[in-house]
């Protein structure tokens, strides 16, 4: 029996959110002015939340580590944003979007949260249009749609291959308007280094000014963490270099539970690794699978010749090409969900049919759609992605198929939150990718943007009022309180400790080592033996890091190595928890594939009897094992079936 209070309202699924909104408390405008809210992170979730809360009249302080809120990594999302508008008359609906998302997440997310997400999705499009987001249009002036993986309708709205950029710039412009009005105070080049909990409630954060090195406290009546995911634990990922899970990790260490840490998404279409000088991986949008066909050679000798560079892809005759996604999944074909497409690519490459000099790549071929639609149509749809591909690889994807391979992309896991998006620490909220809530074990394409903006524009601004209504008598938070001073001391102490180790190896050395453990043992397929190996190995790496890391520069100056050192120290600990969670979950679901749990055809096999829960990890102290709490997932509106895209 689950002891966890997830605050999901009673009643029929379709009425839960409306009912909840009428039940929760509201703060008067006069009182909103007296309440301070901190928002950390300015991606889609953070920027939309900060702007909306500022509009409502709260005093908002927003923080980001970049030099401008506009640079948060939501900017890099390419393909689109889902919404149940049914503009295409293809029988889309809130229920269908809900159902696709629950199924796509392999039945490891909450029905109520996902339904609410689908329910508010149409509002997001309206909001963005009003802000001047230049979505793609039909000649008649209406909004255009495209298709994405894992669904049978066209519900994805887009702005060329730069949808994330345009949505973020929309939220950023709303944020700028509030900054100009003085309702939001923006702190750029500031990094959150701790959350402060006083009398059991989140009351503020400690930050480091990344230019001057000043460590300072900021108080508030509520703290919202919107700091994105932790994919960079893997070192190589599609995340930005600065993306990190540290803010979430600080919350975890102060008592917030971490939900489903082992659920990370491996995106099937990324540009393959070029060598050991690689620093990050570049995504090629999932939208490309609308018009590209994925294949490898049928004959192993062809694959070998391709690997040696003796022949090119265009030398392989039609009948010798294995369109393995179309072969294995005839109904969804090239548009199977990401986890399925990634594993299928790995399967072919592991079997020796991979291309590229590493043998770790498959083809994504546009020849067929260029023949069908003409080069101009393809150029209009994907021009910027093709250009990006060409700049990186020096090959022309209009003439030769792209080479792609899976890479770490998104974390479905994150801070555990209730239906109000509040963690188990009162007053501490987590939104967007930073929480665990909506995508289960696998996120569908174009749903990250939807969730970030849903949380920030249409969920948090309502639910936070329910908590803050009881805080109207709480005076301004005093940052001279001992809890703040202790937190500042701890933060400074840790920075000094890192700085004073003066070992022999730069931070990146440890980050890369961590990445190897994670990719090899906590990556696309996992098993008990490998996971134990990862846990033991990363624990050793942690010891070595704290003895031998070398942080150059000065404490009180701009010092990117010092920033990285703190993040990698956290990432090492996160890696251990991810492996522990993966070890606990002896089933395959979504992006989490356990070799021990597969069907005869090699597809993921869920174990609903034993694992229909959210794992909520609770920190118990530095060198103690964390405790696993379980929130049982209850399904009243969908039937759990083995996911099939055949």
């Amino acid at each position: 029996m689950s002891k966890i209070e997830n605050k999901i309202p009673q009643g029929p699924l379709a009425e839960k959110w409306s009912k909840h909104k009428s039940d929760i408390k509201v703060v008067s405008p006069a009182n909103k002015r007296k309440l301070d809210v901190i928002v950390v992170g300015t991606g889609l979730a953070g920027a939309s939340a900060a702007a909306s809360l500022g509009e409502l009249g709260y005093n908002v302080k927003a923080f980001c580590y970049q030099d401008s809120p506009r640079r948060a990594h939501s900017i890099a999302a390419q393909g689109g944003i889902n919404a149940a508008k049914n503009y295409q008359n293809d029988n889309d609906s809130v229920f269908r979007l809900f159902h696709d998302t629950i199924k796509g997440g392999d039945y490891r997310s909450r029905e109520a949260n996902v339904y609410r997400l689908a329910e508010v999705s149409p509002l997001i499009i309206d909001q963005c249009v009003a802000q001047g987001v230049p979505f793609a249009r039909e000649y008649g002036g209406t909004l255009a749609n495209r298709s994405f993986g894992g669904v049978l309708v066209s519900r994805t709205f887009y702005a060329r291959g730069q949808t994330g950029q345009q949505l973020l710039l929309g939220a950023y412009s709303a944020l700028n308007r509030q900054i100009a009005k003085g309702s939001v105070k923006m702190y750029t080049r500031h990094e959150m280094l701790d959350v402060v909990v006083k009398d059991g409630k989140a009351r503020g954060i400690v930050t480091r000014d990344m230019v001057t090195g000043d460590v300072k406290s900021h108080g508030a009546h509520a703290v919202v963490v919107a700091t994105g995911g932790y994919g960079n634990v893997f070192f190589l990922s599609t995340n930005a270099m600065g993306c990190n899970g540290s803010a979430a990790w600080q919350c975890y260490k102060k008592g917030a539970w971490f939900g489903n840490p082992c659920f990370v998404q491996i995106h099937p279409t990324c540009i393959p690794v070029h060598g050991d000088q690689q620093s990050k991986l570049t995504l090629m949008s999932e939208s490309l699978r609308n018009d590209g066909r994925v294949w490898v050679p049928k004959k192993k000798e062809d694959a070998e010749k391709l690997q040696k560079g003796e022949i090119g892809p265009n030398d392989i005759p039609e009948e010798d090409r294995d369109f393995y996604l179309e072969r294995r999944y005839p109904s969804y074909g090239n548009l199977v969900p990401r986890d399925v497409a990634s594993r299928a690519a790995k399967e072919r490459c592991d079997a020796g049919f991979g291309v590229n000099n590493t043998g770790k790549a498959v083809y994504l071929d546009f020849k067929y759609s260029i023949e069908r639609l003409g080069i101009d149509v393809i150029k209009a749809r994907y021009g910027n992605l093709f250009q990006m591909y060409e700049k990186i690889t020096d090959t022309d994807p209009y003439k030769e198929p792209m080479m792609i391979y899976p890479a770490i992309h998104y974390s479905m896991g994150g801070l555990w939150v209730d239906y109000n998006l509040m963690t188990n620490i009162p007053g501490l909220y987590a939104i967007g990718e930073a929480n665990f809530s909506d995508h289960g074990a696998n996120r569908l394409g174009a749903s990250a943007l939807m969730q970030g903006l849903a949380d920030g524009y249409f969920v948090l601004p309502y639910t936070i009022g329910d908590y803050l209504a009881d805080e109207i008598m709480t005076p301004k938070i005093d940052t001279d309180a001992p809890e703040f001073k202790e937190a500042e001391k701890a933060v400074t102490g840790r920075l000094e400790k890192l700085f004073n180790i003066k070992g022999t190896k730069p931070v990146d050395y440890f980050h890369k080592q961590l990445g190897h453990y994670m990719w090899d043992y906590v990556g696309m397929s996992r098993n008990a033996e490998g996971l134990q190996k990862a846990i033991d190995g990363i624990k050793k790496l942690k010891e070595e890091f704290w003895k031998d890391v070398l942080v150059p520069g000065e404490m009180n100056n701009l010092n990117p190595e010092l920033e990285k050192a703190g993040r990698v120290a956290d990432a090492i600990e996160m890696g251990i928890l991810m492996a522990q969670d993966a070890l606990d979950r002896n089933e395959s679901c979504g992006g989490h594939f356990r070799d021990e749990s597969a069907t005869d055809e090699g597809e993921a096999k869920r174990d609903d009897k034993n694992y229909t829960y959210v794992s909520c990890w609770e920190h118990k102290g530095e060198d103690k094992d964390p405790v696993l709490n379980k929130e049982d997932l209850v399904f009243e509106n969908v039937k759990l079936t083995q996911r099939s895209y055949k």
Binding site: R71, A130, Q165, N176, M241, L283, M388, L558, E561
Partner: protein, 253 residues
């Protein structure tokens, strides 16, 4: 197809420890760089070497490393974002360089972008220009359906061309007058092309231009250098539209 290795390169780079200290060029040697590596990966490798030698690594801005966040901002061999077209620094690859080259790296040079450290400059001025009017004044919620106002395909496309601006500042760094006209024009033009933005178009044009002037950016003399070096190829025709918007606004005062 394994990439060729560059055995030796000379990296001549601007070092400046803080805004107040005097800067200088320093030259470092670097070996064994794959031509498949990105320019920033080359700098990572150089930094790794500097750290291991007990020296202070070179500070430079970067984040997404896929050409969209606008954080990276290097002036390489006298060109913003280096010797290639339509790219940011992070998309520049070492195949654009040859064995034994000396590569000169500077920060953006503009009075309104003071150096913070080494190759990192302060672009807060761009933020302030956006605060002055780079938005449509709508609150969250209470919005009509997205299809309520039809927008022509070409208008949407043109707005999108302008909206592609990543706010990197290459236009300012390239312009001999350090003008921010292309940056301002991108936002003004995007919103001027859309019915949503028209309502307050005059106020926007006036306020953003006034803020740009106040912050010390230079005027535009139509050399077109900004367009050439803009990683997103934003056309100076948007500057023409900005001028039109601004004049209309001024005449209606």
């Amino acid at each position: 197809m394994a990439d060729k290795i560059l055995n030796k390169l000379y990296i001549k780079v601007w070092r400046q420890n803080s805004p107040k200290e005097k800067g200088r060029f320093e030259t470092y040697e670097i070996e064994d760089i794959s031509q498949g590596s990105s320019f920033l990966e080359m700098l990572d490798i150089l930094n790794d070497k500097l750290i291991r030698d007990g020296k202070d690594p070179i500070a430079f801005d970067h984040d997404c490393r896929e050409g969209i966040c606008g954080m990276c901002s290097l002036y390489i061999n006298g060109r913003a974002h280096g010797p290639d077209r339509e790219i940011t620094t992070c998309q520049l690859h070492m195949r654009k360089f040859n064995e034994g080259d000396t590569i000169t790296i500077e920060p953006w040079r503009a009075g309104s972008f003071p150096v913070i450290k080494d190759l990192i400059v302060d672009r807060t001025a761009f933020e302030q220009i956006q605060h002055a009017g780079g938005f449509v004044s709508v609150n969250t919620g209470g919005i009509p359906d997205g299809n309520a106002i039809p927008i022509g395909y070409d208008d949407a496309e043109e707005a999108m061309d302008a909206a592609s601006c990543i706010g990197c500042g290459a236009c300012v760094a390239t312009c001999k007058n350090s003008s921010a006209m292309l940056f301002v024009a991108a936002k003004v033009s995007q919103l001027a092309k859309l019915p949503q933005g028209k309502v307050e178009a005059k106020r926007r044009a006036r306020n953003m231009v006034a803020k740009m002037d106040e912050l010390g950016f230079g005027g535009c003399t139509n050399t077109g250098a900004c367009e050439l070096e803009c990683p997103k190829s934003i056309s100076i025709s948007h500057i023409a539209r900005l001028n039109r918007e601004y004049l209309t606004a001024k005449f209606s005062e």
